[in-house]
Amino acid sequence: MRIYLLRQLALLIITLFLLTIFAFCLSYWFPGNPITNSSGIFSDDTVRFAEAAAARGYDANIFVQYWHYLGHLFRGDWGISLLDADPVFEQLQLRFGATLEIAVLAMLIALVPGIALGVLAALNFRKPIDHTILSMSLSGYSIPVFWFAQIAILLVAVRWEMLPIAGQINPLFNIEPITGSILLDIFISQPDNMSLALRSAVRHITLPVLVLSVMPMMLLIRLTRSSMLDVLDKNYITSAYAKGLSTRSVIWSHAIPNAMQNVIRELGSLLSLLITNTMIIEVIFSWPGIGSWLIRSIYERDYPVIQGGLLLIAALILCVHVALNLFHAWRYPQVRKDLNASS
């Protein structure tokens, strides 16, 4: 395990290092001046532009520049937005919380029904229940998320007027953003009318989270079903039945824990899909997260924001992947053995 841990961490560090090199190169690949692209200061602001150029070492060679870039990166000085001169790092911190909030909630909501329906389908293999669940999940993950969100808005919010459709909370509540995640912020700042504020926040968050959770749920159903089917064919299930265990205890304590192994392995790719969908959902529901900011900055050509946002999202995905790999190897020793044997 220790060797595996070290290998994974070394790999993560190397990858993150390559990622910073890539992000650094982006300021050269974007059209325009690399100093403006990475610091967000226009060249007609002569004094500050010269300062930025000196601070980032743009008079020296490219390795020195990269070194200065790393220094700025770790100090949290990611430049300022070209549009509204907001410091990129502080903004990203706030928006990161907002993005994580809906992504994590959607994942949690997807987990239970996804796994339960998957198990149910596997237990009723090739029966009507199985076919129903399968076709539901196939059509569920083929629905383009942006269309589904619009339909949901049209029905739930406009036709039935049940839920609000934009933003995190009713703007009348003055909640100081600290973590970016609205529910946490309410608990931290403790406003006078806390229950009302919470109610408003929950009403705002419901629709995006529900729409977002559909896709991972459908994929989880398929993953769980196929891995359950594999496990149910195994000899140890037959032997558990032969021992005289009840169906319930065979399923709960022998089949499901083993079926989860494959599911956890595939969870990484599911999470990357979730992140892309989160970005689209944020745009539709005007959720103040990284995704909507990043996409806006791409068509406004706000290069410091693109650079920082891409770096953060890619780093998040890589870290989550490594964490999942480690968890997988820690929880299932047989995987670890395979990995070590092959290397």
């Binding site: 076709s135 990357s272 892309t276 745009v283 891409l310 995905i317 890589l318």
Partner: protein, 297 residues
């Protein structure tokens, strides 16, 4: 008079026949196949069938509902949008942008990815293992995010979006090809051909390729589904096809403003996109099941 067959003969149907059987067994899968064929037909011959141009405005018919409703007009079977453009025409033209172009892009990147993957699989050593780790990392980043990075550099536009999707799909094909060849290379039939002293090129084209083509076909359908969804998503985010283009994703984006008064403008491109994606996924799924059954025999 046909001669009766006296001998019991076990005839194994050819792989293609078995795939066809699998499609025949499942009516849903067969209809999905027909839908894809129909969409392909529309991609090629669509412009010959439509009565109007995709951006032609008919000024006396603005925001007409579909023909079967009270206020509808039979000239416009599925109604018109807020600028008086015929929806049927726009959706048929959209098939080209949302299905046709991604299809071509997937074919192109498959060609590049598969040949690179074959080269990568034939070399071993440090180069190969570095490549594997790099690919693993690239594969873990979602395709839409990678496409966004490329569009951030090149700027928005349909051709840039297509280029981005193509570049993003190459590593996936590379990865799959490389892994498939790696799995096959220890098998006895490969060793036998090696002992026969065949050249690497022959080994690749005549020994490996027929055995990995199934995996590649499945990856092709997965890639197609990803490409269609991503092109539409980029169009929806206004980073792909730009406004008057009848691409389904960008049509959805335009319909946002009028979705509340003329919901069909929003519903129709979505339904078209949904049907296409379901069909592609279902065909891919059926192919996968058929191939799995062949492996189990």
């Amino acid at each position: 008079m046909p001669r009766p067959n006296l001998y019991y003969e076990e005839r194994t149907p050819s792989p293609l026949e078995r795939v066809w059987h699998e499609f025949n067994r499942n009516p849903l899968a067969r209809s999905a196949l027909y839908i894809i064929i129909l969409i392909m037909f529309l991609c090629v011959f669509g412009p010959l069938l439509t009565p109007y141009g995709p951006n032609e405005q008919i000024l006396d018919a603005i925001s007409l509902p579909p023909a079967w409703s009270e206020a509808g007009d039979i000239r416009f079977l599925l109604g018109t949008d807020e600028l008086g453009r015929d929806m049927v025409t726009r959706i048929i033209y959209g098939a080209r942008y949302t299905f046709g172009y991604p299809f071509l892009v997937v074919i192109a990147s498959a060609a590049i990815g598969i040949s690179l993957g074959a080269i990568a699989a034939m070399t071993v050593g440090v180069k190969s293992s570095t490549l594997k780790h790099l690919l693993d990392v690239l594969m873990s980043i979602p395709s839409l995010l990678l496409a966004l990075i490329i569009i951030a550099i090149t700027g928005p536009g349909l051709s840039n979006a297509l280029l981005a999707i193509g570049l993003v799909l190459i590593p996936q094909f590379l990865h799959v090809t490389r892994n498939a060849i790696h799995d096959e290379r220890q098998k006895p039939y490969v060793t036998a051909s090696r002992l026969n002293g065949v050249s690497d090129l022959y080994l690749l084209a005549m020994v490996f390729f027929p055995n990995i083509v199934k995996v590649l076909v499945i990856q092709l359908t997965i890639g197609l589904s990803i490409a269609i969804l991503d092109i539409a998503a980029l169009g929806f985010l206004r980073l792909g096809a730009q406004s008057p283009t009848p691409e389904w994703g960008s049509m959805l984006a335009q319909s946002l403003e009028v979705a509340y008064i003329s919901p069909w403008v929003m519903a129709l491109p979505g339904i078209a996109l949904f049907l296409t994606l379901v069909s592609v996924n279902l065909v891919g799924e059926t192919l996968r099941i058929a191939i799995q059954k062949q492996l189990e025999r």
